[in-house]
Amino acid sequence: MSTSTVQAFKHQAPSFWQSTNGKKVVMAVTGCILFLFIIGHLLGNLLVYAGPVRYNAYAAFLHFDDTLLWIIRSVLIVAVVLHITATVQLALRNKKARPVDYSRKEAINSSFASRTMYWSGPIVLAFVIFHLLEFTAGYIHPGSQFIRGDVYHNVIAGFSVWWVSAWYIFALILLGIHLRHGIWSMFQSVGYNHKKHTPLLKKAALVIAAAIILGYISIPISVLTGLVK
């Protein structure tokens, strides 16, 4: 070595999970799992238009084996927990990264959806909890009696209450906004960005998010307007 060496403090490097990039990969993967669930859930729920017999049969099909059901549910729960843990940890870190705020700051190159992820996320979470209590557990079922197994009745009776529908529509629009950023962002986080494909992906994200919003909110709207009884 040279005549004088400077010994810099050496640290163990952050692990995959400790690094911000690693957490974002976890968020992308768990986000993708939840996105796939949202698609599957939408397709299943659209069966409400096929009438009570087919809709309830679909619900019974999901319950065809309780062990299997709980395995799938566990995957979703783990995905939700990891997605939220990573978000909270990153959000705390990001807050600390700018201790003094700007007196003036303009957003010149970012989407509304990307800047509001920290808002849309928690509201959607609150909605999911309410939604599970209402339609899965049946603890909260304003306006009518929850009947286990008669999913068609529960949906129609649930959405007949105007504020349940309003809250549902509001939360689903936020979910769509969340996905408008999330759908393309998950590719970026795992390292896929292409000059030609990424702009297409962003457009696709917008279309898919809009389709998800419309597909879901069509149900309470149909119930309120009496299209589905």
């Binding site: 163990q12 990039n21 990153l90 990001n94 600390k96 003094v100 003036r104 990307s114 390292g191 960005n193």
Partner: protein, 269 residues
């Protein structure tokens, strides 16, 4: 032209700092933003006041020394331009300009508009190089490089390390800078042998510094004077997880952020 400059003044790292408004009545529209500050500083010196401290070197947009926020946008309103290249004709007569330093925990403020950006140096030290024997220049074209690869590497290599990406990022993340450095070397054949080690080292150092995380928002690329694309961040993410997967030994160590003298924080040893 007349301009009102509202400039952040702070005597030192531990000073509280505040905005002070200066009225400039005779601004030449052909001056650059930095020359405008020079004119202001001359009048301040004449009055016996402390001039505004700001960093500058080449004044032709390639060194990365200068940079501050103008009306909430890093390097001001003109795209792909550093403040030294930003001429005053782009502002309206009588306009007020709010001039603020980069704000980030990783960039502790030293004085007025000057911040300590050595966090970037430590990221470079952690892998932003290629280990090759020096000596006579090798023959041209001994290693063929495709045009597309050369172009992409050049686009990433255009990064001047000014710190605008960190300043503009709502999370104060250094992902665009680190991504640019990882891509520009990792894309080329000369950089391939150290690709994994570079990604692990530089990402580890970036995460050791108090930068935020990338949330793929895109403000960084919007203010970047060299228009570095978001693609470089994806490149970094890809290199990082692939290297983490392949990694066989815990070789990567990071350097503790030694900014204690400037931000008065104790570093863990």
């Amino acid at each position: 032209m007349k301009l009102t400059l509202k400039i952040w003044r702070q005597k030192g790292p531990s000073d509280k700092g505040k905005f002070i408004t200066y009225q400039l009545n005779d601004v030449n529209p052909e001056m650059s933003m930095l020359e405008c500050l020079d004119v202001l500083n001359e009048s301040l010196i004449e009055r016996g006041e402390e001039p505004v401290a700001f960093e500058h070197d080449c004044r032709e947009g390639i060194c990365g020394s200068c940079g501050f926020m103008i009306n909430g946008v890093a390097h001001g309103p003109l795209p792909a331009t550093t403040v030294c290249q930003l001429t005053m004709r782009h502002f309206k007569d009588g306009q007020q300009l709010v001039i603020e330093p980069w704000r980030a925990a990783a960039f502790p403020l030293l004085k007025d508009l000057v911040v300590d950006r050595r966090a970037f140096d430590r990221i470079i030290e952690a892998g932003g190089f290629v280990s090759v024997s020096t000596g006579n220049a090798p023959d041209g074209n001994t290693i063929p490089v495709g045009k597309e690869i050369a172009d992409r590497a050049m686009d990433a290599a255009a990064c001047i390390g000014c710190g605008a990406c960190v300043a503009a990022c709502p999370n104060a993340s250094a992902a665009l800078f680190t991504g640019a450095k990882i891509s520009h070397l990792g894309l080329l054949p000369q950089g391939k042998p150290e690709q994994d080690r570079r990604a692990l080292g530089m990402v580890a150092q970036m995460n050791t510094e108090p930068f935020g995380s990338c949330t793929n928002i895109g403000e960084c690329t919007g203010v970047c004077p060299k228009e570095i694309p978001l693609e470089v961040i994806a490149h970094m993410n890809r290199d990082f997880w692939q290297a983490s997967w392949k990694e066989r030994e815990d070789l990567v160590q990071t350097i503790a952020p030694v900014t204690s003298w400037s931000n008065k924080t104790k570093t863990k040893s």
